[in-house]
Symmetry: C2
Subunit: 362 residues, 2 copies
Amino acid sequence: MAKSLIEVFKQTTYQVGGNGKRNLKVLLDSLEGVDDSLESDIYGKGQIIEDFQRKMADLLGKESAVFFPSGTMAQQIALRIWCDRKGVNKVAYHPLSHLEIHEEDGLKELHHIETFYLADSHRVIEFDDVLKLNEDVACILLELPQREIGGQLPSFETLEQISNYCRQKGIKLHLDGARLFEVLPFYQKTAAEVCSLFDSVYISFYKGIGGIAGAILAGEDSFTEESKVWKRRHGGDLISLYPYIISSDYYYEKRKDKFEQYYKEATELASLYNSCHDVFTVPQEIVSNMFHVHIKKPKDSVENVLIGVYEESNIGLTGYVKEVNENECSYEVSIGDLYESVPKEDLQKAFELLDEKLKNVN
Amino acid sequence: MAKSLIEVFKQTTYQVGGNGKRNLKVLLDSLEGVDDSLESDIYGKGQIIEDFQRKMADLLGKESAVFFPSGTMAQQIALRIWCDRKGVNKVAYHPLSHLEIHEEDGLKELHHIETFYLADSHRVIEFDDVLKLNEDVACILLELPQREIGGQLPSFETLEQISNYCRQKGIKLHLDGARLFEVLPFYQKTAAEVCSLFDSVYISFYKGIGGIAGAILAGEDSFTEESKVWKRRHGGDLISLYPYIISSDYYYEKRKDKFEQYYKEATELASLYNSCHDVFTVPQEIVSNMFHVHIKKPKDSVENVLIGVYEESNIGLTGYVKEVNENECSYEVSIGDLYESVPKEDLQKAFELLDEKLKNVN
């Protein structure tokens, strides 16, 4: 039987995306040399959790921060708090927000919050979309970058306009910053500078940071204190969260200064893709460590092409391809630690092969 | 300044309760010798999580099982599913149920489930309490043992009566089995035998098992599948839960055959307490590894007495004392691995000191 794309991908010597395998080594590396007498956090208290929360609050320029097991939990809670404060159970976000498509409608099923869309599903939210919003919402959520459309970004000026407008109108602005570190090189801003435009901020530790799991929710003291009550209600106030906290801190320190490099590498890789026949990236101009590759050929043909490329070049470009329509398919690329170890000549050769093979697909 | 009870307790050579410190060694021990190439579970899929869920389902005699980060999450979800199935948002449980007093009303705030009490707060739920329940509830939750009243237990015959009755009446029966392993020696039953009386079961891995965190929810396939949807809604479907799964399995294997011993040791320790002046245990007859110690003296006096005992005997009995009223105080004792290493003579001496010192409190 012919091998599948994922099988051939896993056998390549070099993979261009990500930080490597999600195996136990990720945890073990983060624990190397730790003092085994260090006491566990206990239900949100203790040195391990309090120190990390303080560090992240300072980094994000907020009064305080709370460590959560997941962003799903942290963000629903953020929106719930803002809705309760205003007495309005309505929020607005992008139609492809994580909350809308990946959380089994937790926001609606658990919190009974009504959602309104800003922008359409192919582009980012612009100031005009906010102006045209015809609903009294408690909160607007912006995701930077907008992951499901290749990690596109609004301009920083747009963010400032939206932020100013929301403050005037009494609408809270929440940042889905799952990939916040990934966009700082493009904006040429610090995390605190971006976060200053928002009332509440969530960041993740297993995207670009490459940790195991975990999230931080930051804001004013009264907000984070309230979030702890909801964290307990959700079942997220675990007796011990330290396996996630220690690994989050370890990988944050390991990668915090690498996002400029990832951004440049993503730009380089995207230009290789854009030089190929019937291939384009979304976005065209790269703004983070990620983008989507679109190929105007049928999914099955592209899979066969990629298998051929991997076998001849030993370079793995993607482990999957998703159908857009019968004549187009796509996949996501995120640059992490692995890219720098890929020999440039081999990579060049892989793209020459890709271009050539795609031309021969009719 | 005089030292506090907890300070002196921590300096004693031997502590009679628990499995030892909750420090990083607990995690590191569980990871010793693991294969670092083992792949992480990914959003509830993969060998690590699926194997453990299968193992626990078999142990509990249920079709399937789902690993959760916490029991708070698992149990709210269990009750929600049963309420949805029946179209009745009402459940009944003990007035000192974990859901009622330790979860910031998550069941009510997130799931809008109305709760009714069975029994009063000083005793366990008996069959008669169920018979007298004057509400059409979707589910009854029984906690075995009833932790907040010293870990008391109904008889096994009572459980059978309640189970039969609930099946006749179309009421689901859910087991809060946070300390299920702890009561099997008293009942002289297997976990599966106890669980066969219940439609859904939760067990915990950081009580007697002594793991880091984590819970299992088990039942029929249609129930556990539905629970996975709610797990995602709650924000508990983490990309990686393996730090908790591996440690849960490790400590389950390490301690699964020790609960008979803990039970006997708890019985022995309780009889030492009950031989002291103005001291009694709840329950009087020990039925698990735990009990509450009540001392009919003011809290401050008892703390001073205990400090004296610890300093003279080097044995730590408890790190805290809770006021019941101005002439009575209490604390909880749970027996784990530490008890067996306490020299019997020293322990005897500690109780002689305790008895003598309590007599001198007026």
